[in-house]
């Protein structure tokens, strides 16, 4: 009986010890920065919603910038709005962007630019914006980079590469008159990875509301049992998941594509690597962004602790897409948001 009592006492000691704030980091000062981009109009040869142009990325970017600024982030933004104008931080309107065209298959040396192109969310400007923060962010600061627009995948290479399409990446190919997204002016996953690596904080979050954006996730360890192209989440871990997880544990190789969650960036993607994402007039936004914004306004605080983490915002947005968009969209237009692995989560708000 005395031995049983002794073990009971030890249990209380363990609980009391674990309840102490042994590792309290509340004195850390975290500065919050955000870069927000959207491209509604890729060419002023067509109005918004026609040709290669979209309808709502500027609304996505504008709402995201406002929300982040209201939560204390220092926000820099660039977007091309539905009127085809380049807008920068503080809603400064720089006038209409151009109607770019190229004769080169890689999209180099385009013609048809406009003065406002210098302010647009082009590849050069986005990479420069990221790199400019390398001397600004401290090791405990947090950086959110958001982009809404087109995205694509190049399966002609091995491994396949993912891109998102800033302004200038989608243009007319002069020999056939058709519009394509071109690799040189697009932002490739490894190009963004290099830019991110210049920023010393590991607290980097990339949010992409584009097609194929799941390809920006480069998990060397985790196995995602939601398929890269799916019409709904998988229900269970299957044997292939187990085998792949063990293989990843043994090799722990750097993912050949995408951004590693271990220091480079945590990625929240609208869609899987091999699928499209959508925007809708019913929301006036990209579908994933709509639910992300909705959640970040408060409901994504799933554990009611007064803060919203990246995983909570992902879970809320994914549930919004799963429960509200996918059932009506059908299998052809269903998609699934994805998120990076890694053991760490970050407080966004």
């Amino acid at each position: 009986m005395r031995k049983a009592l002794r073990f009971s006492a030890f249990g209380i000691v363990v609980v009391a010890l674990a309840s102490c704030s042994l590792f309290d980091y509340s004195n850390l000062v975290v500065h919050k920065y955000a870069l927000v981009y959207g491209v509604t109009v890729y060419t002023n040869a067509f109005p918004a919603g026609t040709g290669p142009n979209l309808l709502y990325p500027d609304a996505d970017a504008s709402a995201m910038a406002s929300l982040l600024a209201a939560q204390g982030y220092s926000v820099q933004s660039r977007w091309v709005n539905a009127a085809g104008n380049a807008i920068t931080t503080g809603n400064v309107d720089h006038g209409p962007v151009g109607s770019l065209a190229t004769s080169n298959t890689d999209g180099s040396s385009p013609s048809g630019g406009a003065p406002a192109d210098a302010f647009a969310p082009s590849k050069a400007n986005i990479i420069a914006d990221v790199q400019a923060l390398s001397g600004v962010l401290g090791s405990n600061d947090i950086l959110v980079v958001y982009f809404s627009g087109h995205g694509t995948q190049d399966t002609s290479t091995n491994p396949a590469r993912e891109f998102f399409d800033p302004y200038g990446a989608v243009m007319q190919y002069i020999p056939d008159g058709q519009y394509y997204d071109f690799p040189v002016p697009s932002v490739r996953d490894d190009e963004l990875r290099s830019a991110f690596d210049s920023i010393k904080t590991p607290r980097k979050i990339l949010i992409l509301d584009t097609c194929n954006s799941g390809g920006f996730i480069g998990n060397p360890l985790e196995t995602d049992w939601t398929a890269p192209s799916s019409a709904g989440s998988a229900a269970f871990v299957n044997p292939a998941t187990l085998i792949q997880a063990i293989a990843n544990y043994v090799s722990m190789q750097s993912s050949p594509t995408g951004l590693s969650p271990y220091g480079t960036a945590m990625v929240l993607s609208a869609a899987g690597r091999d699928e499209s994402s959508y925007e809708t007039s019913a929301y006036g936004h990209g579908v994933m962004t709509y639910w992300l914004l909705h959640g970040l306004a408060g409901p994504a605080d799933l554990n009611h602790d007064g803060h919203i983490t990246v995983l909570e915002s992902f879970a809320y947005a994914k549930a919004g897409v799963d429960q509200n968009w996918n059932p009506a969209a059908g299998s052809a237009s269903s998609f699934e948001p994805h998120v990076s692995g890694g053991p760490v989560d970050f407080v966004m708000f």
Partner: protein, 157 residues
């Protein structure tokens, strides 16, 4: 307690249930094979970061060394000792469909008691300590309190 690469240590709380099959190898040595379901809650958010919560399953094999320390007709049999073994775990992070794998060496101190009037039942208290050999963290280990009941098939009064 966990510490990620580039981040400091934090505490996480968790719990689980296991179903064990115990094979007696001698009067004081046993082989324990188990399957376990477990969950680990996220850490606190101080400093603007937290370690993700995760839940999953594990399989473990342990060697137990439990010599009898007390045996009386009134009280029954009390054994005390320990065990050591290895588990393989496949959890996934909360809110995600991201599964990962790790190995977990574990040791535990054990005391158990088989009451005189209930020879088929053994009540067990254990103090497990485990090291999660996670390749995505600088270190991760856990300590806790285990409570168990063993049913012995074919036990005689």
């Amino acid at each position: 307690m966990s510490a990620g690469q580039g981040f400091g240590p934090k505490l996480q709380y968790g719990g689980g249930f296991s179903l064990d099959v115990v094979f007696p190898l001698s009067s004081w040595m046993l082989l324990d094979a188990s399957i376990k379901g477990f969950t680990v809650a996220p850490s606190d958010i101080s400093g603007g970061f937290l370690y993700r919560g995760y839940s999953g399953g594990a399989m473990a094999v342990m060697a137990l060394f439990l010599p009898t320390v007390l045996s009386t007709p009134e009280l029954g049999v009390m054994r005390a000792g320990g065990g050591a073994g290895l588990a393989a775990a496949l959890p996934s992070y909360w809110y995600t469909t991201l599964a990962f794998f790790y190995l977990e060496p574990r040791v535990e101190g054990i005391v158990d008691w088989t009451p005189a009037g209930l020879p088929a039942l053994t009540f067990q208290l254990s103090l497990p300590v485990a090291m999660q050999l996670r390749r995505d963290m600088s270190y991760s280990f856990s300590a806790g309190l285990g409570i168990g009941v063993l049913y012995t098939f074919g036990a005689r009064r």
